[in-house]
Symmetry: C2
Subunit: 351 residues, 2 copies
């Protein structure tokens, strides 16, 4: 059933603030008419843009604050000085239950630190993770952690698998999402201890997911699994490297299509095909990283994105809020930790 959902939007976040956030929300509202919004930030600036979007205005509330988190603030500074900022208030609205999810295009480190402080990790979760949507030749997959932490224990990686599976269940509508553990291919060094531990846990525990074992970096884009699990350092580097490679090939393609008149005319004739390609490669289609493992939904949009891209992040927040993700994840994690404890106690009968 489709229920009304309220999103809390940090209207001042990102490179453009309300000029992107408001039109982005307007696009998302057309797609999901059951949405309503609370915008946090400078009343005058937000109001001026909102006046141009009558339908959105009718579904919106505005909460003024003059305080904003700058893109350059360190997370510790943001925590110290950011109380009452547009980012802070949006997250607090999720905590109090006023809103079902928060979306911000602001400073990633600050948003992560504030989300953690305000929404708090779920019971038994030491390390929340950032999950990214990753386009594949089939459709999309979820990769996590893409940079909330450096390193992760075997148990933490297994928790990432559960979090990613819960997200996949709500976004892709599959009951038992397939999960792969990102690893390196060379036999000799296959897996550090943490990766091997996670593999053993995921193989040996009855979990609400379909664990497919190790996968390698070149298999992510082939859509081999719904969820790819990796610790945050390698995950962040993989994500950035894929973005960089796509950009690099885009440059090659542009150079190749403008190098002669024949190429230019050919490219013009094939413009329908190029339009499809451009759409496929458009980073705005899958904009939005999600903090998973917190008692609330917080979505991070790219800072430099336009309204169409911001709308993708709003859509993501909406879909996750709509699906009962958190309740289900909470019970999945409880079950997992219960099983782990039993195993540990079973293994140490003297305890």
């Amino acid at each position: 059933m489709v229920e009304p959902r309220t999103l809390a939007l940090d209207a001042m976040g990102g490179d453009h603030g309300p000029e992107v956030v408001i039109p982005g929300a307007a696009i998302s509202l057309v797609r999901h008419p059951q949405l309503s919004f609370i915008f946090y930030g400078d009343e005058a600036r937000i109001g001026a843009v909102l006046d141009q979007h009558a339908a959105l205005r009718a579904k919106s509330r505005l909460v003024h604050t003059a305080l904003t988190v700058s893109m350059d603030d360190k997370p510790s500074q943001a925590l110290r000085r950011g109380k009452g900022s547009s980012m802070w208030l949006a997250l607090e609205a999720v905590k109090t239950g006023e809103a079902h999810a928060a979306v911000s295009a602001g400073n990633t480190g600050a948003l992560m630190a504030m989300s953690r402080l305000i929404l708090r990790p779920m019971t038994g979760i030491e390390r929340p993770a950032i999950a990214a949507l990753w386009p594949t030749v089939k459709s999309e997959c979820i990769v996590l952690d893409v940079g909330a932490n450096i390193g992760a224990s075997g148990q933490q990686l297994a928790e990432f698998a559960l979090m990613g599976a819960a997200m996949a269940r709500s976004l892709f509508h599959v009951e038992r999402p397939t999960v792969g553990l990102l690893n390196v291919g060379v036999e000799e060094i296959k897996g550090g201890d943490e990766v091997k531990d996670a593999h053993a846990i995921l193989k040996g525990t009855d979990l609400p997911l379909d664990y497919r074992g190790y996968i390698e970096g070149d298999e992510i884009g082939q859509g081999k699994v719904d969820v790819v699990v990796v610790e945050g350092f390698a995950g962040n580097i993989a994500l950035k490297t894929a973005e960089g490679t796509a950009k690099q090939i885009g440059q090659y393609l542009k150079d190749a299509m403008t190098r002669s008149w024949a190429s230019k005319i050919g490219a013009l004739m094939a413009r329908g095909g190029f339009k499809v390609l451009k759409h496929k490669m458009d980073p705005r289609r899958v904009n939005g990283g999600t903090f998973l493992g917190l008692n609330g939904i917080a979505v991070k949009s790219h800072g430099g994105i336009d309204a169409l891209g911001f709308a993708s992040a709003v859509d993501l927040g909406y879909e996750m809020a709509q699906s009962g993700l958190l309740e289900r994840l909470g019970s999945d994690l409880d079950g997992f930790h219960h099983t782990l404890n039993k195993t540990v106690q079973g293994a140490a009968p003297g305890a």
Copy 2:
């Protein structure tokens, strides 16, 4: 000055053995007439292919062995059972000085283990690394470690920087190659301790390279630096992810150009441009990982490559052998360890 150079080739390595290795060597010989070869492997199979390449045959010697390392052998098995195999003999020829470099398309883990055992790490090097050539929008860069080890200390990362710089000096002919340390972008978690340690060492030590600080995954393909330093787990995942992304976009492009008659005709008109693009994206252009930090040059070609791709690996072995890389690297490393020891002693005057 261009001097004659002998390469030791594992003729049985890779998916196709002599049928790819011999024609590959023939292509490289045309480019570098001062080359000569020793082929190790099955005499009858090698001889049959060599008979079709008269010019190569005149510059080649054949050493028979019936023993080969299989693509499925674990490194430990390969070490136990592989003595006298085509891979083993090729590496031994480098050790004895019969050959200036060894090239194999065989089992990576086995080649790494054997290279290490036979050629031995250079003085003071605990961890040899695998360096890969990475195409950039400008030309190429070197990325290491792409999978010899999981994890690396700050000092080991600094040694990787020196090794990569030595390789860049011989391949790109720049005296002080630029070096970047691969890191994640999120301020809060920027760098694990090892990465921060390496940053401090590279910034604070007078080294024969131009250290440019941290770079992120999306900057590798932009050619921001000549050498990208990263520990092996994240490095391997980055390399595979970039390969996967390139393949994925290639599939998108093919689909886009065949979806309508107009696209097909346009693509045909623009075929000159597509040819350039295909060349740019051709993985055969930069085939070959190099083991750095050993007393000898060993190059690993992709196992599934064709003759043109294998020729790139042979070219790489030749260029590295030609440049006096190892002597120079040996003295760079001596200088570095000397400076580090002085710093450590200086910091602990009681010692």
